[in-house]
């Protein structure tokens, strides 16, 4: 099975997406999921969305096409993180 690919988008790709990418990688790896996680700016989503299985965004995004999007701040605040991890696992099945 090909590796699943997750794209993490934030406003300008400086701080938050860097943290979120790492956190998601860490959690999914610990759950035994082998995934590729990349980061981008919100504005880059339309050009990249099609080659990913899931987009996790900390900011509103447009142009994600058919790729499912989870918008959440839980990877930054810790609030609701378990639910989001479940949701991500569900979407990547």
């Amino acid at each position: 099975m090909a590796k699943k690919k997750v794209l993490v988008a934030c406003g300008t790709g400086i701080a938050t997406s860097t943290v979120v990418v790492n956190k998601i990688k860490e959690i999914l790896t610990s759950k035994g999921l082998d995934v590729v996680v990349d980061q981008c700016k919100a504005a880059e989503v339309p050009g990249k969305a099609a080659s990913y299985d899931l987009i996790v965004a900390t900011t509103p995004i447009t142009g994600s096409g058919d790729t499912p999007v989870i918008r959440t701040l839980s990877f930054l605040t810790g609030v609701g993180i378990d639910k989001d991890v479940e949701l991500i696992m569900e979407k990547l099945k």
Binding site: C10, G11, T12, G13, I14, A15, T16, T18, V19, N22, K23, A57, T58, T59, P60, R71, L73, F75, L76, T77, G78, V79
Partner: protein, 157 residues
């Protein structure tokens, strides 16, 4: 890579900031970073401009926090300036044009190379998960207590 403790100091803490709005808070911490040589003159305005488009307020299980920041071109040396607010100031919630959050703690970032500062960002975000700790931090009476509390919390992790 270095964790958060390498990027904070008593010199970069402002206690009980008294400001009317989020931009005046950002300005005070921006001026501090500029005075100490961590950022360029253009930094503060750039942070304010970015905050207007991509707000950075976060609602935690403790007190509201914000992490204003901007592009690397405005930064000389990476650092994190910390501010506690006398009274809560409304910031817009990250990724949300309508909702606001009452912020009482500010962590204003000067980042020049995100991949180099990943560990710092991670340890900072790690602090946000502990609501009780954030409440303690908000009540600190002086700069050295702020730094001591953070160092102690980081040592726990």
């Amino acid at each position: 890579m270095k964790g958060l403790s390498s990027y904070i100091s008593e010199d970069l803490v402002l206690i009980h900031i008294d400001a009317e709005d989020e931009f005046l808070c950002i300005e005070q911490l921006g001026n501090l970073l500029y005075k100490k040589g961590f950022v360029k003159e253009t930094y503060t305005q750039a942070v304010i401009d970015r905050e207007k488009v991509y707000p950075t307020g976060l609602s935690t299980s403790g007190v509201g926090v914000a992490i204003p920041h901007t592009d690397a071109v405005h930064v000389n040396k990476p650092a994190v300036a910390i501010g506690t607010l006398k009274k809560p100031v409304l910031f817009h919630l990250m990724g949300d044009d309508e909702q606001t959050v009452e912020v009482q703690l500010l962590f204003q970032l000067a980042i020049n190379e995100p991949s180099e500062q990943l560990e710092m960002l991670q340890s900072l975000v790690g602090l946000f998960a502990d609501g009780e700790f954030l409440k303690c931090l908000q009540q600190a009476e002086d700069e050295s207590t702020v730094i001591a509390l953070i160092q102690a919390e980081l040592a726990k992790a």
